[in-house]
């Protein structure tokens, strides 16, 4: 599943950020690291950029960029201490293989 396919209001956990170069660097710098919880906030009026919420802030990305972000939509309500804007707690980290 990729981030651009999710409906507004859905939460998901990032599993990988694909793509390369400056854009990927930017996404990682802004905290879209594997294991991070994100929520789809809304879709722009004309249908393209989407607004996502992670680590307590709002970020806007185009669907093209969102399609580079792989996510899983596991049921994680039990792990999350945030009802509106979820982010993973330290013990949720799953990145080290």
């Amino acid at each position: 599943m990729t981030l651009d396919r999710l409906k507004p209001g859905t939460r998901a956990r990032i599993t990988a950020v694909k793509g390369k170069g400056a854009l990927r660097r930017r996404l990682l710098d802004l905290g879209l690291t594997p294991g991070t919880m994100v929520m789809i906030r809304k879709v722009a009026p004309l249908g393209d950029p989407i607004e996502i919420c992670l680590r307590g802030f709002e970020l806007s990305v185009r669907k093209a960029e969102a399609s580079e972000i792989e996510v899983t939509t596991e049921d994680c309500s039990g792990n999350i201490n945030c009802s509106i804007c979820p982010y993973s707690k330290p013990e949720d980290k799953t990145s080290n293989g």
């Binding site: 950020v17 400056a22 854009l23 990927r24 660097r25 930017r26 996404l27 990682l28 710098d29 802004l30 905290g31 690291t33 594997p34 294991g35 991070t36 809304k42 879709v43 722009a44 009026p45 004309l46 249908g47 393209d48 950029p49 607004e51 680590r55 307590g56 802030f57 709002e58 970020l59 806007s60 990305v61 185009r62 093209a64 960029e65 201490n81 945030c82 009802s83 509106i84 804007c85 982010y87 993973s88 707690k89 330290p90 980290k93 990145s95 080290n96 293989g97």
Partner: protein, 692 residues
């Protein structure tokens, strides 16, 4: 007054050179929209000056710190990371590494703690004394969020000072700690935020490149993490040899293999893991979101609503223009205009009474007063326009506009982020062109810069107002709207043409943080407005003033230096007549019109002052009467269209040259815009001629 401050400044500069050890330079850096500008204004009182960082970058503001001698502060452009993504990031990084400030004040948005701290961790690697200014503490306290500052300080090994830049709290302490840190050179300790394989990799690389880093004058720790990330500029600066590069490659691929991830993700992951851990230790929140964030979400429900968002945006823009041109701007302009007329008639009668020479009388009344006065009376409109644009910028609405309009702009080959510089362009092209530095791709930047001058800037306002009061008094709103819309339409058409020819390229990424809405600090709004007012007044009394004197001189004398009674015999008429054939096809073949266009290159306001001087009109009513003799309503409109689109003023040109790196681009922009202006004006004239 002015002289004494200048003297003081000179003295300070000398002292700066004499006792260099005592001078302290502070660099403020933080995420965009975290309050850095407000902090800068609090520290300096809004005073800016050229300083040691100024030459390398004009987007960094520098100024003296209030009540602290020999202390200057520079505000670096906002950035999320020291990796080179946008020009702003590169500038910030260059100034920190090459400019070597004495102390870094890292401003951290306490309400966006995790994201802000990502930059902090990188700044700590630079081996520069540092203090953390934890901003927005008023919001934190309002929401009963508990920050364990002592623990945070201990973990980060740097002083953490809670402040509220907008409420002016904690600034004094911050300056004190920053100066102390600079004095005692308290560099952040190396904290091990990474463990395991990343740690090993950094350690091994450190051993390998220590000498190279020393030689290149770069901080070692910074080099190591940047090498692990695969940062090209650092690798280039270190000029490593092939065997070293090979070993590094080996170390990195080893790390990637063990972690089952790649180098970039590994570093980002390590930093964020450390930050999450730290955040859970020092922050206790009663609720998951703050009241301000909740409020922001509510506002966004309306302002980025699926259906209402776009109408609301256009509504807001219309309202701003209505205030500028009609209600508030109109009243204020009328008052000031009356004041100026009174002053001019006082000077006039004074001169007559004292029996001044006719030439001097003519110079002062028909030259200076007519020219400068006609421009100055438009000051209130410009102030009103900048007031609203500043509020838009500071409130957090601009990124939302980018979000809402992105798809539309992408259709014409631009990005949503281009709209912010475009909107600023309605105020002035110079800051607008500088604002393009936040765009990530060169293609977008160049395209946006080429189109910004089509957004009618405030300097062209006096011109439109002059023609409207002479010709279209009854259709004021329609004509004004037509001019602004035409500018937008032309830029859209040009963008489309560019998209299919010069600037093909792929769509560029759009990654934009939407900060919470905040009430703009009136002080910041006022300062920005005041800056622009000052700039306008300065222009009126320098460029426009000189232009009016030169124009008056050229039109009052003939080639034999005899004062002429009929301006048609003057030197200026001779010059203006050379350009006449060029404008004849557009319907305004009068030499006074072409002369005004030429002087308009110095500053667009000069078009008005030149017309005033050339027609010998001393007040607005007389000017209108004279204009009716030169133009018909149609040619007046064509003239306005040409002025809207033709080449930008010298200040804008210089900025374009700087931002596009070279005169070649600037000359291309000039040719492009003037050609477009001529073609569009010709079309308007021809089509208009059929109907009228």
């Amino acid at each position: 007054m002015d002289k004494s401050t200048k003297k003081k400044e000179n003295r300070r500069k000398h002292r700066h050179h004499d006792k260099k050890s005592e001078a302290v330079s502070i660099a403020i850096i933080g995420n965009p929209n975290c309050g850095a500008t407000t902090l800068f204004n609090r520290m300096t009182g809004g005073i800016k000056q050229k300083g040691r960082f100024f030459e390398c970058c004009h987007t960094a503001k520098e100024g003296p710190v209030r009540a602290h001698k020999n202390t200057t502060v520079v505000e670096l452009p906002g950035t999320y990371s020291l990796s080179a993504y946008t020009l702003n990031d590169i500038t910030a990084r260059d100034i920190l590494i090459n400019g070597k400030p004495d102390v870094i004040v890292n401003i951290v948005d306490a309400t966006g703690f995790e994201r802000s701290l990502y930059l902090t961790l990188q700044l700590m690697e630079l081996d520069i004394p540092m203090v953390v200014a934890l901003n927005m503490m008023d919001e934190i306290r309002n929401n009963d969020i508990d920050f364990d500052l002592q623990k945070l300080e201990k973990e980060l090994t740097v002083p953490v000072i809670p402040i509220s830049a907008s409420k002016n709290r904690g600034i004094h302490d911050l300056i004190h700690y920053a100066i102390e840190a600079a004095k005692y050179k308290t560099v952040p300790k190396k904290i091990d935020f990474c463990s395991g394989h990343v740690h090993t990799a950094i350690h091994s690389i450190a051993h390998l490149i220590k000498d190279d880093a020393d030689k290149a004058g770069l901080p070692l720790r910074f080099c190591c993490t940047k090498i692990v990330e695969g940062d090209e500029p650092v690798l280039k600066q270190l000029s490593l040899k092939d065997p070293e590069l090979e070993i590094i490659d080996h170390i990195v691929s080893d790390m990637e293999h063990h972690l089952n991830t790649d180098r970039e993700a590994a570093m980002a992951d390590m930093r964020y893991a450390f930050i999450q851990d730290l955040a859970s230790k020092v922050i206790t929140r009663p609720a998951s979101t703050t009241r301000e964030q909740d409020r922001s979400l509510l506002i966004d429900k309306i302002l980025t609503h699926r259906i209402f968002a776009i109408p609301i945006f256009f509504g807001i823009m219309l309202l701003i223009f209505y205030f500028t041109f009609d209600s508030i701007g109109q009243w204020l302009s009328d008052w000031l205009g009356m004041g100026i007329d009174k002053t001019v008639s006082l000077i006039d009668s004074g001169l007559s009474a004292s029996g001044a020479a006719p030439a001097l009388h003519s110079l002062i009344i028909n030259g200076v007063c007519a020219g400068v006065g006609s421009v100055l009376s438009f000051l209130p409109r410009i102030a009103v326009l900048f007031f609203f644009l500043s509020i838009l910028e500071d409130s957090g609405y601009m990124p939302r506009v980018a979000f809402v309009m992105d798809k539309l702009l992408r259709k014409v080959g631009l990005s949503g982020q281009s709209i912010v510089p475009m909107l600023i362009g309605f105020g002035c092209s110079v800051p607008a062109i500088m604002a393009t530095r936040s765009l990530p791709s060169k293609r977008d930047r160049h395209l946006t810069i080429a189109l910004i001058p089509f957004m009618s800037c405030s300097a062209k306002l006096p011109l439109y107002a002059m023609f409207i009061s002479a010709f279209f008094e009854n259709n004021r709103v329609i004509i004004m709207a037509a001019i602004y819309l035409l500018g937008i339409i032309v830029s859209v058409v040009c963008a489309l043409i560019f998209k299919h020819t010069l600037y093909k390229g792929d769509p560029v990424p759009f990654v934009l943080v939407l900060p919470p809405y905040r009430l703009p600090a009136m002080k910041s709004v006022w300062l920005r407005m005041w800056e622009n007012i000052k700039e306008f007044i300065k222009k009126a009394f320098t460029i426009v003033f000189i232009a009016t004197i030169v124009i008056w001189f050229l039109q009052s004398f003939d080639a034999g230096m005899n004062m002429v009674s009929d301006p048609d015999d003057s030197i200026l008429a001779a010059i203006g007549k050379v350009a006449v054939p060029l404008f004849e096809p557009l319907g305004f073949g009068d030499w006074r019109a072409s002369t005004a266009l030429i002087t308009g290159l110095s500053a667009k306001e000069a078009v008005v002052s030149t017309m005033a001087v050339l027609t010998g009109a001393t007040d607005v009513a007389a000017l209108s009467a004279m204009l009716i003799e030169i133009f018909t309503p149609l040619t007046a409109f064509v003239f306005m269209v040409f002025c809207l689109l033709y080449m930008p003023c010298v200040a804008t040109l210089a900025t374009i040259k700087k931002e596009m790196n070279g005169w070649w681009h600037a000359i291309l922009v000039v040719l492009f815009q003037t050609t477009v202006a001529w073609i569009v004006a010709f079309i308007v004239y021809s089509v208009g001629g059929i109907f009228i």
